[in-house]
Symmetry: C2
Subunit: 345 residues, 2 copies
């Protein structure tokens, strides 16, 4: 790649070791690809660090490495996913995200056109979410020492006064809300990975949830727990909350929304939707008296239209998650002990 | 790995895909390795996001992926390096770092004992720097899709009122200070990589510079530019500043400190020390009238004992970095155009 032929290079070129060497090739890549698409006033400062004002409040920070395979999947790609995933982690603390950073680990030989597509998708997700990417970093590793591209994003947000959402705050008698059907992201990834064809394409639910969270917290500032059921799915998220809060859960299977095509795909793939990753859903644990109000708010938001009350928090020294099944029985929804879906996010 | 045999597993075990799957194996790894060594009140909240108060001021954030090879080298390892590198980026904006996040991409089969050694080194560097790791993430990729471990750290800091340090702020007539001898880090890495033996072991200079920066800024708040000459070395950092500020530089070769063993190794390896990475040095550009005071402050700090005034900022529409050589001539210190030292940080 050189200064004169960059357009050509981005169509046909590949990442080489010079793109990570700290010299001119890296400077051109950063300027003509990252800065061009992710343009914003803070990034344009071109420091190694970004400087910006934040509104008053406690600070929230979260980081996530993204190693999803394949890089492109129905409903998104590693670029949009790396924005949504980290914004959601910030939002699940009850905070409104204000900025993102992004670090790229590129494998030698990776097509620059694919990289540009990923950066453009990241820019679009960032723009839609209203949260700029203010600082970044690029490293290159030799062919066979990486897998195309890995992206770590870190999000910073500000927590409004009075909000104290925590995985350890669930109490017996409270209820569990879920913002929509589960399993879409994991099934979309796995279908693509295994080259499975279904009648309708199953798309990832990857989306940024902080707008929905803002509406919910404005109405009910004392929500106890918010959690996005990503890796390990709804089952793992609830087990983590049960563990942190010292409570149990009783879920109603018939209330847990799963799209019919996702359910069918899970049966085919031998997966339990409760353990399949989501990237645009949230669990909310709140007082029973607030449930209807919060569901009304969720139903009015594009990302919460199918929100449902799926169970309740109970006293349980053993911190078990139990599900009342459609057939009138009950089963324990345990931690996932082995591998289910690697590289799902 | 299981709950009962963790001590044994950390001595003899390796990373497997379940450590990234979101289930129990991952929870145990996070609790018994990451949380145990990096323990601090914010991390103990066990959110996906960390929540903490910060002092008033503008926020500074910086992120860096670390892919250094080999993972362990004289004077440090990827764990300590990933702490120092990001703290330094925050400090070079003139800010004092307050917290770090860390995301790990682990390759299947990587020895858990090595991972523990890296996390312990990270914990020590974080503790010595007085900046806690408040949030993290772990992903696992299949054998052959990574290279042991990659670590992305993100640092957050607070910028004191009145400080406006920027790579674009250098002005003709100002002077260039350098905090100590150059090339140690790059030569230490390359010596280890190439299995070279020298009479004395050359150690990386990897260190956290925010303490030195704090002392310098307290004395001279209107320093114009701070920059750590990492990838691409002193030459690249000065070219970037020249470009951002629209100025030129004239350096005095005889004033630029290089350890004799580093100089000898560079000759053997065919490297120019000006282009070799450092991880514990800083460039400071300031008014000539402040130079002596800043050098005195640097000399009184363990990381600035060999600080020197190495050149000056000049008017130059072509933004060139020129060096007056020991022999009375002059040469242009250009951008590095190709690959020199990949995976140096």
């Amino acid at each position: 790649m050189n200064n004169t032929g960059k357009g050509q290079s981005f169509r046909t070129g590949t990442v080489d070791m010079t793109h990570g060497g700290g010299g001119r090739a890296m400077a051109v890549l950063i300027k003509d690809l990252f800065y061009r698409h992710l343009k914003n006033p803070v990034l344009d400062q071109a420091h190694d660090a970004a400087v910006f004002d934040i509104p008053p409040g406690r600070l929230v920070i979260s980081t996530d490495a993204h190693v999803v395979s394949p890089l492109f999947f129905p409903g998104g790609d590693i670029g949009s996913l790396s924005v949504h995933g980290t914004l959601n982690d910030v939002a699940m603390a009850g905070a409104q995200p204000v900025s993102l950073t992004a670090s790229f680990i590129l494998e030698e030989g990776f097509p620059l056109a694919d990289l540009e597509r990923i950066v453009m998708s990241m820019a679009q997700a960032s723009s839609q979410a209203g949260v700029p990417v203010v600082s970044g970093d690029t490293k290159v590793v030799e062919k066979g020492k990486g897998d195309g591209v890995f992206i770590t994003t870190t999000g910073v947000g500000v927590l409004p006064e009075g909000v104290a959402i925590s995985p350890g705050a669930a109490q017996a008698g409270q209820v569990v809300l879920l913002s929509g059907p589960i399993g879409d992201h994991g099934v979309a990834i796995l279908s693509k990975r295994e080259n499975l064809e279904f009648e309708t394409e199953i798309r990832s639910d990857s989306a940024a949830l902080h707008g929905l969270v803002e509406n919910m917290i404005s109405a009910v500032p004392d929500i106890s727990v918010l959690r996005d059921p990503t890796r390990g799915g709804l089952a793992t998220a609830l087990n983590e909350i049960a563990h942190a809060s010292g409570v149990g859960f009783v879920l109603q299977e018939k209330e847990i929304p799963v799209r019919p095509d996702v359910r069918a795909a899970c049966e085919l793939l031998g997966l339990d939707p409760l353990y399949v990753a989501n990237e645009g859903k949230l669990i909310c644990i709140c007082e029973a008296a607030d449930a209807t109000r919060l569901l009304d708010i969720a139903h009015a938001h594009p990302l919460g239209r199918e929100a449902a009350r799926i169970g309740e928090v109970v006293e349980d020294g053993d911190r078990m998650v139990v599900m009342q099944t459609d057939f009138g029985g009950a089963r324990v929804v345990d931690w996932l002990s082995g591998e289910q879906l690697p590289r799902i996010c």
